[in-house]
Subunit: 359 residues, 2 copies
């Protein structure tokens, strides 16, 4: 059986002031008619029934997450006691899946990426499932063809082409590379053999648990104790006791880089991780002057800007170019688009300035 | 006796969103510890007791004006039934003064200019009073030495130097010139013989009333009817009936340009009419990056900007230069400083866009 694990962590600084500590990006409706989390669940729903969809989130966000997903069993929204990066998170999910179906297959997906069209995504997922059915020990990743020398993503180097399933190329993975510097990113792009790591994985729960035990035996043992108690009255207490002690490490580094049978599927759908306001602009409908506008806005002689008024107030602009103006939750951001990299630092500094309530 | 007439009309578009229809510039605290109107009253108070200070304002603003001036007799705040430019306004004030003191002298001053230091201003006023005492038929104006070829002000051409009183030069006036075009403004500046018309006048009430009767007999007769009824039970009704019928004309054009004995006093104090947000910046204390900031503001890599948060919310800026960000009364303006000329048009268009409540 196929299970879906939606990773809904995220700190929520890059879409400040709309995103906040207890309302990170995936809980926001940034484009379209639903939040990114709701869109992610709806995207996989044709292949996975609600009772087999699990959302792993932070304790601060569990309540809001459940509210947004009323069709999911409440217990399927799992709150991590504390952030421990992706290896403990994926391992916990694998234990939950294995407890229900020892031969279960799971897809792991971020809650905050834009993917379209859904049909092409589902075709890629089906191809990945059939790869795992044919070779149950394989770990499958999804790789996006790079279009720019992006230094903010991890990369996957593709090796030998193994096969093409339903029009989707399946390659062996040579190596994973963390966020590269600019020179390396240029080389990766030019080589044609690197893909962006889209953060989507598909494998049998028992396979990933086996790999975790092999490469991170302490983590594997702790996960096994949580798994054994899962579904019993002791479950929450065991999770609360074990999880904070687990090693804080990403699944790519902990397991994927060392595992024997890792494959990468070519992503043929449109993918956008919507990293910040800049990236959002291309997803929103723009007026003739290139402005993406929401709420009560009067934009005079303003071009290529994002202007969002969430609080019901009026925003009037004159003579702006390439500026982001966002008003939400009593805070207003006015930033030049080419300087949005500084937003994270600004938000992280709010507490020291006495503006903690705006976090 | 000396009376002070403070002209407190003003439409309130240039400081939007802080200024509104019923809260124009003079009722705002834009700099310092009091509103511009309160500062204007306080400035003249050492020479004129409260019972001889009158404020002429619009019907929409009379209540707020009285609230701001609790020490003034309520009746001394006079509401014009409708806007009729400065000649009817000045004439009405002169009738009120003449009714109390047929030989009374009056200073007419705008409520929304920044003048400092007060001592130098008062010295200039005293010089003007002594000019009028020596020559009771003279009309005295105040002229500011121009520092740029400003096309937004009226100009006064100075003629013969008549005398110097208490260090203040008194010249005959050759002509008044309305707002000039750029070429004319350049010539005026280069000639050295033109001054900006600071909108301050000093004269005997009977003198200005005589000049109005001479050059605008219909207006003079209407004013006389209002003056005759002033202080009686019929006063308000007569004003309400006569005022709307009066000719809409500025006092400069109606009388000053034609009168025989017009003198201009040299303004030696600092003067700023604070025409818009741009002009305000030089009056506010600035931080090391040249930003004038009020309220909850975090300005990151931002220079030479005005950032005002009136509504209690947080404003965060990144990478701005020469930008005005003002949040007040549920509206937010974000404008490039060099394009503030467009603000008036923007505000005037709000109603058509369905944003009338923000006027």
């Amino acid at each position: 059986m196929l299970f879906a694990i939606i990773m809904a962590g995220g700190s929520g600084t890059r879409f400040w002031p709309k995103s906040r500590r207890n309302r990170p990006k995936q809980l926001l409706n940034l484009h379209g008619d639903a939040t990114m989390l709701q869109q992610t669940v709806a995207r996989i729903a044709p292949l996975v029934p609600a009772e087999r969809i699990f959302v792993i989130t932070g304790a601060d966000q569990a309540e809001a997450t459940r509210e947004q997903l009323p069709d999911l069993p409440s217990a399927n929204v799992v709150a991590e006691p504390c952030p421990r990066d992706t290896a403990p998170c994926v391992g916990l999910a694998a234990e939950i899946v294995a407890a229900q179906d020892p031969e279960g297959t799971m897809i792991v997906m971020p809650a905050d990426h834009v993917i379209r069209p859904d049909e092409v995504f589902l075709r890629t997922v089906k191809a990945a499932v059939s790869v795992v059915e044919a070779a149950p020990e394989s770990l499958v990743t999804f790789g996006v063809k790079p279009t720019r020398p992006e230094t903010g993503y991890g990369y996957i180097e593709r090796g030998e082409l193994l096969e093409t399933r339903d029009g989707v190329a399946v390659n062996r993975v040579v190596q994973f590379r963390e966020k590269p510097d600019r020179d390396a990113a240029e080389r990766f792009l030019a080589s044609g053999s690197f893909a962006w790591n889209a953060g989507i994985f598909l494998w049998k729960a028992r396979t990933i648990l086996g790999e975790i035990r092999r490469h991170k035996p302490l983590l594997g043992a702790a996960l096994a104790r949580v798994g054994a108690a899962w579904g019993t009255a002791a479950g929450p207490d065991v999770l609360a006791a074990e999880f904070p002690e687990m090693e804080r490490t990403p699944i790519d580094k902990a397991v994927m880089e060392k595992a024997a049978d890792v494959k990468v599927l070519e992503v043929v759908y449109d993918w956008n991780d919507v990293g910040d306001w800049r990236a959002l602009r291309s997803l929103l409908p723009a007026d003739a002057a290139g402005n993406a506008v929401r709420g009560h806005v009067v934009a005079l002689d303003t071009r290529d800007s994002i202007i969002l008024s969430d609080d019901g107030g009026l925003i009037a602009t004159i003579g702006l170019d390439d500026v982001v103006v966002v008003q939400s939750g009593g805070a207003t951001l006015v930033a030049r688009r080419d300087q949005l990299d500084k937003l994270k630092g600004l938000v992280e500094g709010l507490n020291d300035r006495g503006y903690g309530p705006y976090l």
